[in-house]
C-alpha cells in the first residue's frame, strides 16, 4: 500500500496555519474556525485511513508490522551516515499517536467554537491550534531523532503561544514564560543527548546498525539519560513538573489538547521510541526513569488531593498519570512482552486511553467553567441538575481514570500494575496505592462540583446552563470512546517486540486494584458527598501542616524561586553582568576607538588623484614581490 499521502497529514495543518495566520483578522472568526476545523477533520480522516491501511495490510514474514518511511528527504547532510532528514515514518506507535492526536485535536477544534466564542483573537487561536497539530504530528512521525527534536521545539513554541493566549493577563504571560523556560532548560539535556548520540553512533537514526552501536556502547546510557531529561521536562516529571499547573492559565480546550492528551506525553513517546536502545544498552537508566515516574505519580496524586482549583486538580492528575506511563516503560527488563516487556504495551495503552478520558475531563471542566465563570471548586456544587450531559460524561471519565471495570482506564492501568509487580513488588504496591489515591481525588473533585451545596449567591446572578451542542458533542464522543476503548485488543497492534500480544487480565491484580479504587471512591463519597464536610475539614485542621504543605505543592516552586533568585541571579548572574559591562564592553569600546582613530589616520590614501593610485598600486605589487622573495 502506498502511504505517500501521509505527508499531507503534516502539510494540511501547516497550510491552514499559514493561511489563517497570514490573513488574520481579515478573515471572519467563524471562517478561520471552519478552515482550521475542516483541515483538522481531513487530517483526522487521513490518520484513520492510514491506521486502517497500515494495520489492515498485515504483518510481514517475521510477524511484526513493518516500519515504513513513505516519504523522506535529506535536509542537511553532514556525512554519509550522519544527516538530518525530514520525513514520515509509520510504525505501530506513530500510527497510534496519529489517531490520538488527530482525534483529540478535532474534538478540541469543534469544542472551541463554543468555548472561545466572541474571544478577541479567535483567528489567532485557530492558527496556533493548527500549528500545534502540525508540530505534534511531525514529532510522532519523525524519521530520526533530530527531526523529532525540531518538532519538539515547535510543539514547545505553540504551547508557549497558546498558554499565553490571553496575553493581557499577567498570570498567563508569566505561566507561558515559565513553561517555555522550564521545558527549554530540559530540552538542553535532550539536545546534548542527541549530539552525543549523533557523534558517537554517527547517525541520527532511531535504529543505528550494530557496529555503530558497539562503538557508542559506553556513551549510550549517558546520551539516553540526557534525552530522558528532555522528556521529563515535556512530560512534567518531578522536579521539572512546575510549569504544568501554571500552564492551566491557557484556554481550557488548549489544556485538554496540549497539556493533557498530546504534548505532555511526548516524553513518554520519546522513551518508547528509544525503547529498544534503552532496554538493550541502558537498562539502569530505564529503571531509574521508573523510580522518577513512580515518585512523580505519588507526589502529584497527593498534591491533587488538596487542590481547590478544578483545572489544577486535573493538571496534577495528568502529571500523576504520566508518571504511570513512565513507570510502565521503566519497569521493562526485556523487549519480550511475555518476559518483562509488558510495560511497553501497557504504557502505550494507557497513553491512548488517558488521552481520551483526560481530554474529556478537561473539556468537561471547560463546560463547568463556562457555566459558573470560576475555576474554584468552592464556587461550584450541586451542578448535576444544571449540566446533565457534562455530569454524565464527567462521571464516565472519573470512573475510567479511577480504573473501574469495564471502562478503558481499568484495562490499561491493570496492565501497568501487572507489569510493575513483575518488576518489583514495592513499585507494584506503590502504584496500586496511587491508583487508590487517584480514585479518591477524582471523586473528591466530582462530588465537589456536582454534589454538595449549591452556590446560591452565584445562581442568583445567573442560573448555570448546559453548554451549546458544539461543546457537548465532543464530550459525548469522547465519553463513548472512553467507555469502549478498553476492549480494543491493543496488544495486537502495539507491543514491545512487535509480535501480537493478547492482553490477559491478571485476576489477582485486577481484583485488588478494583477494591482499592472502590475504597478510594467510597472514602471520597463518605467525605464529600454530603453538604457539610465535617470529616474532610476535621482532617484538614488535624493535619494542618501536611495539608498546607500539600496545598502549596510542597513548596517546590518556592525552592525554584530561591535557587534562581538567590543563588543563580545573585551569585552567578550579577558578577557576569559586571564582567560584561566593564570588561567585555570596555574591550569593544576600545576596539571602536582604535578603529575610529586608524580610519581617520589613513584617509589620505584615498586622495582622488589617479597618479597617486597608480603609485600605491605599483608600490603594493613591488611590496608583495619583495615579501614573497624574502620568505
Amino acid at each position: 500500500m502506498d502511504f505517500t499521502y501521509t505527508v499531507l497529514i503534516l502539510l494540511l495543518p501547516f497550510l491552514s496555519f499559514i493561511l489563517i495566520g497570514l490573513l488574520g483578522t481579515k478573515l471572519k472568526p467563524v471562517t478561520a474556525g471552519i478552515i482550521g476545523t475542516v483541515v483538522t477533520g481531513i487530517a483526522a480522516a487521513l490518520s484513520y485511513y492510514t491506521a486502517f491501511g497500515y494495520f489492515g495490510a498485515g504483518r510481514d514474514a517475521s510477524g511484526v508490522y513493518p516500519t515504513m518511511i513513505p516519504w523522506n528527504t535529506v535536509w542537511l547532510p553532514f556525512s554519509e551516515t550522519l544527516h538530518i532528514d525530514l520525513g514520515v515514518m509509520l510504525d505501530p506507535i506513530s500510527v497510534m499517536m496519529l489517531v490520538v492526536i488527530s482525534t483529540v485535536s478535532l474534538m478540541v477544534h469543534i469544542y472551541s467554537f463554543g468555548y472561545m466564542k466572541g474571544e478577541r483573537g479567535f483567528q489567532r487561536y485557530y492558527a496556533f491550534l493548527s500549528l500545534f497539530t502540525m508540530s505534534m504530528m511531525g514529532l510522532v512521525v519523525a524519521t530520526n531523532i533530530f527531526q523529532m527534536y525540531l518538532f519538539w521545539e515547535l510543539v514547545g513554541v505553540s504551547s508557549y503561544l497558546l498558554i499565553g493566549f490571553y496575553y493581557t493577563k499577567k498570570e498567563a504571560v508569566a505561566a507561558s514564560k515559565k513553561a517555555f523556560i522550564v521545558t527549554r532548560f530540559a530540552d538542553l539535556g535532550f539536545l546534548v543527548g542527541i549530539l552525543f548520540y549523533g557523534f558517537y553512533t554517527g547517525t541520527f537514526s532511531f535504529t543505528p546498525d550494530a557496529p555503530a552501536l558497539g562503538a557508542a556502547k559506553a556513551i549510550l546510557p549517558i546520551a539516553l539519560g540526557l534525552m530522558f531529561v528532555g522528556g521529563a521536562g515535556k512530560s512534567a516529571m518531578f522536579p521539572l513538573h512546575i510549569w504544568l499547573p501554571d500552564a492551566m492559565e491557557g484556554p481550557t480546550p488548549v489544556s485538554a489538547l496540549i497539556h493533557a492528551a498530546t504534548m505532555v506525553v511526548a516524553g513518554v513517546y520519546l522513551v518508547a521510541r528509544m525503547f529498544p536502545l534503552f532496554v538493550e544498552y541502558a537498562p539502569d537508566v530505564l529503571h531509574l526513569t521508573a523510580y522518577v515516574g513512580a515518585f512523580t505519580a505519588l507526589y502529584a496524586a497527593v498534591v491533587a488531593c488538596v487542590q481547590s482549583d478544578i483545572k489544577r486538580v486535573l493538571a496534577f492528575s495528568t502529571i500523576s498519570q504520566i508518571g504511570f506511563m513512565i513507570v510502565a516503560l521503566g519497569v521493562c527488563t526485556s523487549s519480550d512482552p511475555h518476559a518483562g516487556g509488558l510495560g511497553y504495551m501497557a504504557s502505550m495503552f494507557h497513553l491512548f486511553t488517558h488521552a481520551m478520558f483526560k481530554a474529556l475531563l478537561f473539556l468537561c471542566a471547560g463546560c463547568i467553567i463556562h457555566a459558573v465563570h470560576s475555576n474554584e471548586v468552592s464556587a461550584m456544587g450541586g451542578l448535576r441538575k444544571y449540566l446533565p450531559v457534562t455530569h454524565a460524561t464527567f462521571l464516565v471519565a472519573c470512573l475510567a481514570i479511577a480504573g473501574i471495570w469495564p471502562l478503558s482506564g481499568f484495562f490499561s492501568k491493570d496492565e501497568i500494575i501487572t507489569a510493575c509487580f513483575e518488576f518489583s513488588p514495592f513499585i507494584g504496591v506503590t502504584m496500586t496505592f496511587i491508583a487508590g489515591l487517584t480514585a479518591f481525588y477524582m471523586f473528591r473533585l466530582y462530588y465537589g462540583i456536582f454534589w454538595g451545596r449549591e452556590n446560591k449567591a452565584l445562581h442568583a446572578e445567573h442560573v448555570p446552563h448546559e453548554a451549546p451542542a458544539t461543546m457537548t458533542v465532543p464530550l459525548v464522543f469522547l465519553a463513548v470512546v472512553t467507555l469502549f476503548a478498553g476492549w480494543i485488543p491493543f496488544g495486537h497492534f502495539v507491543s514491545s517486540d512487535g509480535q501480537a500480544y493478547t492482553i490477559h487480565i491478571n485476576t489477582t491484580v485486577a481484583i485488588v486494584s478494583l477494591c482499592v479504587a472502590a475504597a478510594g471512591i467510597a472514602l471520597a463519597t463518605w467525605m464529600y458527598m454530603r453538604e457539610d464536610r465535617k470529616v474532610a475539614d476535621g482532617l484538614a485542621t488535624r493535619f494542618s501542616g501536611l495539608h498546607k504543605a500539600a496545598y502549596h505543592r510542597f513548596y517546590i516552586d518556592e525552592i525554584y524561586q530561591f535557587i534562581t533568585h538567590r543563588i543563580i541571579f545573585a551569585c552567578i548572574s550579577s558578577p557576569i553582568a559586571w564582567f560584561d559591562r566593564h570588561v567585555v564592553d570596555g574591550f569593544m569600546n576600545g576596539m571602536a576607538w582604535v578603529t575610529e582613530k586608524t580610519s581617520w589616520a589613513i584617509r589620505y590614501m584615498q586622495s582622488g588623484s589617479v597618479q597617486r593610485y597608480c603609485i600605491w598600486f605599483l608600490g603594493g605589487v613591488l611590496g608583495l614581490v619583495i615579501l614573497l622573495l624574502l620568505i
Partner: protein
C-alpha cells in the same frame, strides 16, 4: 583541428553573441515608439534566456575547443549562470534610468556594452590559455569603462570613467608584463602545460604577483582598490551594481581556478600573498567604510571587504573552497543587488539622493524598500538566518579547515566592525528622525520584480540546502 565542440562547449557564448547581435539590430532598425517601449522587456526576457541556457548543466562532461584555447567544465555552467542571472537583475533595475531623457536614445548601447562585458567574462572563465584569458579580460574591461562614463555629460561619471580606464590600463599593462615573463621562462602560455614548467624562480614569483595584481584590480583588493570608491560613486548606479557584483564574481572565480590549476607549485607563495591581501582588504575597507556618507561610496568599501572574504575561499585552494566561493558569490549577488536596487530606485525617484542622511526616516515613507535594504544589509553582515550567514560560515570553514586559524579569527573580528557600519544604514532608515524624508513612491514593475527575486534569494538560498549541495556536486571534481 576539430571544431565540432564549438556548438556544445561554447553554446552559452554563442547564445550570448546572438543576443548581442539582436540588440544591435533591434537598436538600429526598430525605431518606432512602440518598438522602443518593447525594447526593455525584450532584453530582459532574452537575458533571462541567456541565464537559463548558461545554467543548464549541459554538456555534462568537460572539453576543449580551438586546440585548448577555450575549455569547458560543468562548473563553468554554474558560474556563468550566476553571472548571467546577476546581469539579468541589473537589466531589470535599469529601466527607469534608461528611460530618462538624456539616456533614452542610448538605451541600446547600454545593453550591448553590458552584454559585451559579460561575454568577456565568459571567455575569461573558459580560457585555457593566458592570451585568451587576457582578451576576455580586456573585453570585459573596455566596454566597462564606457558604461562607467555612460552619463558622459555628468562630470562625475566622466571623471569616474577616466579614472577607471587609466587604472585599468595600468593594471592590464602590469599583468601583460607578468604574463610575458611566464612565456619567457616556461615557453608556453597554455594552462595545461604550465604547471610542469613552473619552478618558483624569483622571476616567476614576480610574474605571478604581476598577474595577480591585474585580477586583484578587477576584484578590487587592497592595495589595488583605490579606483573603486571614485568609480563606484561616479558611475551611474546601475553600472555600479553591475561592477560590484558580476565583474567581481567572475574575476574571483577565475583567480581561484588559475591559482589552483596553473600555480600549484607556488601554492606557498600565493597563499602568503593572499594572506596579506586578505588582511589588508578586509581591515582597510572596513576602516574606510565607517567614514562614508555617500551610500555608493559606502558600498564600494563594503564590496572591497566582501572581496576580502571571498579570497578566504581562494586561499583554501580546495574543492570545498571552490564550492563556498561560488555559493558566496551567488548570495553576495542577491544581497548586493537588492541593496543597489533600492539605492537606484530611491535615487531615480528623489532627484538623485544617495547620501546616508537622505535615508533618514525612509521607513516611514517607504517601509517596503527600507525592509528590503535591511534584509540585504543583514545578509551582507552575516546575520542568521539570512543567506549571508551561511555563505560566510562555509567560507570561514573552508579557510579554517586548511589551517588558516588566525586569518579566520581576524576576518571574524572584522565582521563585527562591518556589522557596525551596516547597522548604521539600518539605524538611519528606522530610527533617525527626519523632517523631510524621501517622499513615498511606487517603483516601476521590473525593479519590483528584481527586488522580490533578490530578497527571495537572501532568505531562501541559505535555508534550502540543495542549492549548496547542487554547487558542491559540480565542484567536487575540481
Amino acid at each position: 583541428m576539430d571544431y565540432s565542440g564549438i556548438f556544445t562547449y561554447m553554446h552559452s557564448e554563442i547564445v550570448l553573441i546572438a543576443v548581442i547581435v539582436i540588440a544591435f539590430l533591434y537598436d538600429l532598425f526598430a525605431t518606432g515608439e512602440r518598438a522602443r517601449k518593447a525594447f526593455h522587456p525584450l532584453m530582459c526576457v532574452l537575458m533571462a534566456a541567456v541565464a537559463v541556457v548558461s545554467l543548464w548543466p549541459w554538456p555534462s562532461e568537460g572539453g576543449e575547443v580551438f586546440g585548448g584555447m577555450f575549455t569547458y567544465e560543468p562548473v563553468h555552467a554554474i558560474v556563468k549562470g550566476i553571472l548571467a542571472a546577476g546581469a539579468f537583475i541589473v537589466l531589470l533595475q535599469s529601466d527607469v534610468w534608461l528611460s530618462r531623457e538624456d539616456t533614452a536614445h542610448k538605451r541600446g548601447e547600454f545593453y550591448i556594452l553590458t552584454l559585451s562585458t559579460l561575454l568577456g567574462m565568459y571567455f575569461m572563465i573558459g580560457a585555457g590559455h593566458f592570451l585568451m584569458f587576457f582578451i576576455g579580460l580586456e573585453l570585459a574591461s573596455v566596454p566597462m569603462a564606457c558604461l562607467v562614463a555612460f552619463d558622459k555629460y555628468r562630470h562625475n561619471s566622466a571623471e569616474a570613467g577616466a579614472k577607471f580606464i587609466l587604472s585599468a590600463l595600468f593594471a592590464s599593462g602590469l599583468m601583460l608584463y607578468g604574463i610575458s615573463f611566464f612565456y619567457g621562462t616556461a615557453g608556453t602560455l597554455y594552462f595545461s602545460d604550465l604547471p610542469d614548467r613552473i619552478t618558483g624562480s624569483p622571476l616567476q614569483i614576480m610574474a605571478m604577483v604581476f598577474f595577480f595584481s591585474g585580477l586583484g584590480f578587477k576584484i578590487s583588493l587592497v592595495p589595488f582598490h583605490l579606483w573603486t570608491a571614485d568609480t563606484y560613486q561616479g558611475a551611474p548606479t546601475t553600472v555600479t551594481s553591475y561592477l560590484s557584483v558580476v565583474s567581481k564574481g567572475a574575476a574571483a572565480f577565475v583567480l581561484m581556478t588559475i591559482l589552483v590549476k596553473v600555480f600549484p607549485a607556488m601554492a606557498e607563495e600565493w597563499r602568503a600573498m593572499l594572506y596579506v591581501v586578505i588582511v589588508l582588504s578586509i581591515t582597510v575597507a572596513n576602516l574606510f567604510a565607517i567614514r562614508q556618507h555617500n551610500l555608493k561610496r559606502f558600498f564600494a568599501f563594503s564590496s572591497i571587504s566582501q572581496a576580502g572574504y571571498i579570497m578566504l575561499a581562494v586561499i583554501s585552494g580546495t574543492a570545498f573552497g571552490m564550492t563556498s566561493l561560488i555559493f558566496y558569490v551567488l548570495i553576495y549577488t542577491a544581497a548586493n543587488l537588492a541593496a543597489f536596487g533600492v539605492i537606484s530606485t530611491v535615487e531615480q525617484h528623489s532627484g538623485g539622493k544617495v547620501d546616508m542622511a537622505d535615508y533618514n526616516g525612509l521607513y516611514r515613507t517607504n517601509p517596503k524598500l527600507a525592509i528590503i535594504m535591511t534584509l540585504a544589509l543583514f545578509s551582507l553582515g552575516g546575520i542568521p538566518p539570512f543567506a549571508g550567514f551561511f555563505s560566510k560560515f562555509f567560507i570561514f570553514a573552508a579557510a579554517f579547515s586548511e589551517g588558516f586559524k588566525v586569518l579566520v579569527f581576524i576576518a571574524l573580528l572584522n565582521t563585527i566592525v562591518s556589522l557596525y557600519y551596516y547597522l548604521l544604514v539600518v539605524k538611519a532608515m528606522f530610527i533617525t528622525p527626519n523632517e523631510n524624508p524621501v517622499p513615498a513612491f511606487r517603483s516601476d514593475r521590473s525593479t519590483r520584480i528584481s527586488l522580490v527575486l533578490c530578497i527571495a534569494g537572501v532568505i531562501l538560498l541559505g535555508l534550502v540546502s540543495s542549492v549548496y549541495d547542487g554547487i558542491n556536486a559540480f565542484t567536487f571534481g575540481m
